[in-house]
């Protein structure tokens, strides 16, 4: 292999990320080739320097105390000890009895949390001085803007002859996963449409449960592996009509 080919993988080698066989080949090459050896040494120096300079910011003790005070009162995750083993038979019975209701309760709690965060995203957009990052009423401008920013594609409806207008879109996050946040308007009411990958939310949502969240009207459904939310202070009929348009566009 000529040195230029070695060089393309030199950083991966120095990060220790090559398969072990290639690491051995690289080791022997770096030992025997003065040019690559010098290059590797220089890059190691660079890594060390960045590592040294990179750890330069430290928080004040007051700030650390403040954070600690806020979190230290929370309950522990208890390790599964021997004492638990002896009591496991009794616990198992209780668990079996309560399992169905517990799961339902947990799902509902998580589901409520998701709807609450969706409402937060909508309110955040309304309160923002820059509610959208791509400003356009043209779906052929807004949709391509998301390419490369989110790991999925979606379709937007044609709004001609409808009372809705598209204002634009922005990237957003829900449960630490990226998604699309589109903003529509109907008679001065702004409506958010949020699209995420269904699997990444890791929550089974009750689509019929929350007709309202913080007095906003909400509609949600899943299609083609994507989870859609439509939320706004417009009437329930408007929210439903916009949801219908989106469903037809995606069908």
């Amino acid at each position: 292999m000529v040195c230029e080919l070695w060089k393309t993988r030199l950083d991966t080698y120095l990060d220790g990320e090559l398969p072990s066989e290639e690491m051995r080949d690289f080791d022997s090459h770096v030992h025997s080739c003065p040019t690559c050896g010098a290059d590797a040494l220089a890059r190691v120096q660079m890594k060390r320097s960045i590592q040294g300079f990179g750890k330069r910011f430290t928080a004040s003790p007051e700030f650390r105390k403040r954070i600690l005070r806020r979190i230290e009162a929370k309950p522990r995750r208890v390790a599964f000890g021997i004492a638990w083993m002896t009591a496991s038979a009794v616990i198992a019975v209780l668990v079996v009895v309560g399992l169905a209701s517990t799961y339902r309760l947990r799902d509902r709690t998580r589901s409520e949390q998701v709807f609450s965060e969706v409402a937060d995203l909508h309110v955040g957009m309304l309160a923002s001085s820059a509610p959208v990052d791509v400003i356009s009423t043209d779906r052929h401008t807004v949709k391509p803007w998301f390419q490369g920013k989110i790991p999925f594609a979606f379709d937007l409806p044609e709004l001609q002859n409808s009372e809705f207008s598209l204002l634009g879109g922005r990237m957003t996050y829900l449960a630490q996963t990226p998604g699309a946040h589109l903003v529509y308007e109907v008679r001065k009411h702004r409506i958010s449409v949020l699209v995420f990958q269904e699997g990444s939310l890791r929550t089974r949502l009750d689509e019929n449960a929350p007709a309202k969240e913080l007095s906003f009207n909400v509609e949600t459904w899943s299609h083609g592996g994507l989870r859609y939310f439509v939320i706004g202070d417009a009437s329930a009929i408007d929210v439903h009509n916009l949801a219908d348009l989106l469903k037809r566009a995606a069908a």
Partner: protein, 205 residues
């Protein structure tokens, strides 16, 4: 022992199998703050970012899956919180034109005086800080996670929610930009040193 073993330090993630949120999260406080400061470039904003990260993590701790990487989970929350903040939106809005994953040209051949040699001198810390700060946020974060936090490619991929190939590509481009930037500053520096003294007077520049 491999050639690398002389400097390689293994850093594994926090074991999430037991303990309270405090026990798991507080050892990450200093590195998270450092990372937040690099992202925001501002002490107050870094504190706000860390505070919000801890609150969000605490709220979502019950949904954290045991057996998964707690460190990557915390960094992901911090990074996503940053990206949706005003500072984050501003930072991502200044991304360069063109495909961010597109490879640039090959590295230049090894030079006698390289950008790396300038770094040996600790007095040049301002220079390296300036260069890292000038990197677009997508390059800055991947470089810091790899070099400062010593995360594996897999862990970085989990933190940034991108494929490993994207991590490698961004890392390569970040390093190239950093080297090119340092090389340019070195050239400018040597030109300045060679500038003749005006009217026989040295202005100390």
């Amino acid at each position: 022992m491999t050639w690398l073993a002389v400097y390689h330090i293994d850093v594994s993630g926090v074991d999430p199998q037991s303990g309270s949120f405090e026990e798991l999260a507080m050892p990450l406080f200093d590195p998270l703050y450092n990372f937040a400061h690099w992202l925001t470039r501002n002490r107050d904003e870094a504190e706000d970012l860390v505070q919000e990260t801890y609150f969000k993590a605490l709220r979502g701790f019950s949904s954290f899956q045991l057996g998964t990487n707690f460190r990557a989970w915390m960094y992901r929350i911090l990074r996503n919180t940053f990206l949706t903040s005003c500072a984050g939106l501003k930072a991502t809005a200044t991304l360069p034109l063109g495909d961010p994953e597109e490879e640039e040209g090959p590295e230049l051949a090894v030079e006698f005086v390289t950008p790396e040699t300038i770094l040996i001198d600790r007095s040049n810390s301002d220079l390296i800080e300036r260069e890292i700060n000038e990197l677009p946020v997508h390059f800055r974060e991947v470089l810091l996670l790899c070099e400062v936090e010593e995360m594996s490619y897999q862990e970085i991929a989990e933190t940034l929610s991108v494929p490993i190939g994207t991590v490698m590509s961004r890392l390569s481009r970040a390093r190239k930009r950093l080297r090119d930037g340092l090389r340019q500053r070195m050239t400018e520096g040597s030109r300045a040193e060679q500038t003749p003294v005006k009217n026989g007077m040295n202005y100390g520049l």
